[in-house]
Amino acid sequence: MLAYVVRRLGQSVLVLLGVSVIVFGLLHLTGDPTRLLLPLEAREEDVRQLRALLGLDDPLWLQYVRFLGHALRGDFGLSFKHQLPALTLIFQTLPATLELTAAGLTVALVVAVPAGVLAALRRNSALDALCSVGVLLGQAMPVYWLGLLLILVFAVQLGWFPAAGRDGLASLVLPAVALGAFSMARIARMTRSGMLEVLAQDYVRTAHAAGLRAFVVTYKYALKNAAIPLVTVVGLEFGILLGGAVITETIFAWPGVGRLAVDAIFSRDYPLVQAIVAVLATVFVLINLAMDLLYTYLDPRIVFVRSRG
């Protein structure tokens, strides 16, 4: 177990190193950064000075090492636009984004898992059909369209929830639903197919033959097995939701990293973009690590199989 955790930690570090290369490359991808940083009419002299100042004349690997050293200390430089450390800006907005993502995922799970289980238990019933329609709608509807629809109905017409901003629990509902809908559909579909497979297994029959209550068989014995592939999906969903937050935050004027990122991209605020990519990637890697560890807890076979090669 410990060996596995250590190995997974090592893998995570490798992934983050890869990310750092990409983030570092971001600045160089679009050509000479000094051209972007300086006004068009800047003199050749100024350009050269800035290049020296930024260390852009050094060999690339040296620049990368320097960048990495700074990044490890949390120093991504000053945001061009805000003239504040990029990381400070992110930490001001990250809680809002994590809150929205977690809420979206929670909404998705709370609806999708029971719906998927019920659909599997009552296969081919009206309930199952209803779930299928829901899944189809959830997967077909683009998040911005659903977001606008929700605002129109529940904020403008019914006035139940605020249309925009971040102000208490009520303001979280609509963006969380909009963000979570797609994942909800996918998780419901996966839960249904996973449960159908598990319910046909011999050990489910054994549990019934031992006289266990149907409820226990379904929600304990079967669901734990069906949850194993689900955990991986939920980890991936979290990443997808983080990405989806960009659109959702823009529609609902949610003061999160997503909106900050859109803003930073439009104003070519490279240090800020770099920092955002780095931080989001780190969050993503950490979540996946946590999911993998949860996976080993759920499936006792996993460590065994992998450590045997």
Partner: protein, 321 residues
């Protein structure tokens, strides 16, 4: 005479298929007395497992019990509501399955699974249930049961897994154990150990056992009586001695001739020619007729009924005398 512990009466279990109704069990009747070991033998696909699952009311959909009754201690199991039936399963009638690997839940320790089965029927806390589980593992001669209780199925060998499966089945002290080919998936030496274990537990607990197998050697060793099933029907049922001494049904004779025997040393083993009939075709007359060497014209028109030839020895073949 007191009523039998378990009586299966004219049981029919059907599976609807795209090419007609498959009659997996077609009018099976037998009884099981207290403390008795009854063997149920027959070729693959003749309806042994479906019979046992029908008794437990665990026939997988779309299969359904179409007719018949199962009386346990005089009560019709098919008339019970779901909760009453649940209280029978495991507590009064328990089951051991063929495949110890897939029949145990891979993500719970065996101790957890046994404790879960205990808690389904008895009050008391998890701790007591766990302790009871450890005691059960000890009874099935699991080495170091306290440690093994924490193991997951994949950490056990096939033989130990089947021991765990037996401990799980017997945890609530059932009056009837249905063992569906409990040793088929195991190595020969392990098979003998598991059969010994079953014999000992049966004697100690005075349990009735319905032992499903296609191994007549196992039947000879363990059973008091034996029922031979062919294509969803019982063709012969008799005390073991009587059956081995004077098998009366051509199918039973065929099965016995398939057994290796010292007197036929050096000769090739015989097999019964042909294959069992398609259970979706409803045929008149004896189902064994296409494979039977004694067949006469009336066999193909009249369905033979079980008749008693010797005390307790019933056979469904009017031709062989």
């Amino acid at each position: 005479m007191p009523p039998p512990l378990l009586a299966v009466e004219r049981l029919q279990t059907h599976f609807p298929t795209s090419r007609g109704v498959l009659r997996a069990v077609d009018g099976v009747s037998f009884t099981l007395e207290r403390g008795e070991v009854l063997g149920l033998v027959g070729e693959s696909g003749c309806g042994k497992s479906v019979t046992s699952l029908s008794i437990m009311r665990l026939v997988p959909p779309p299969g359904r019990i179409a007719a018949g009754r199962v009386l346990f201690e005089g009560e019709d199991l098919f008339a019970k509501d779901d909760e009453a039936m649940r209280r029978v399963r495991g507590a009064r009638i328990a089951m051991v399955f063929q495949e110890p690997m897939t029949s145990l839940n891979p993500v719970f320790s065996i101790g957890d699974q046994i404790a879960g089965a205990v808690l389904a029927h008895a009050g008391g806390g998890r701790r007591a249930a766990w302790e009871h589980g450890v005691a059960m593992l000890d009874q099935v001669q699991m080495p170091s049961p306290r440690q093994r209780a924490r193991d997951f199925p994949h950490q056990l060998s096939g033989g130990l897994r089947q021991r765990a499966m037996i401990a799980l089945a017997l945890a609530s002290g059932p009056a009837v154990l249905i063992a569906d080919e409990p040793t088929t998936a195991l190595d020969v030496t392990i098979q003998a150990q598991i059969l010994d274990l079953l014999r000992r537990l049966q004697a100690e607990r005075g349990m009735a056992v319905l032992l499903i197998t296609h191994d007549l050697g196992v039947v000879a060793e363990l059973c008091h009586r034996v029922a031979v099933i062919y294509a969803g029907r019982i063709v012969e049922i008799a005390p073991v001695r009587s059956l081995f001494a004077r098998p009366l049904h051509p199918y039973t004779r065929g099965l016995l001739q398939c057994l290796p025997h010292p007197s036929r040393f050096g000769q090739p083993l015989t097999t019964i020619e042909g294959v069992p009939p398609d259970l979706r075709q409803v045929t008149a007359g004896c189902r064994f007729a296409p494979r039977c060497v004694h067949v006469i014209a009336s066999c193909r028109t009249t369905e033979p009924a079980l008749e008693e030839r010797e005390p307790g020895h019933f056979v469904a073949c009017p031709v062989l005398r």
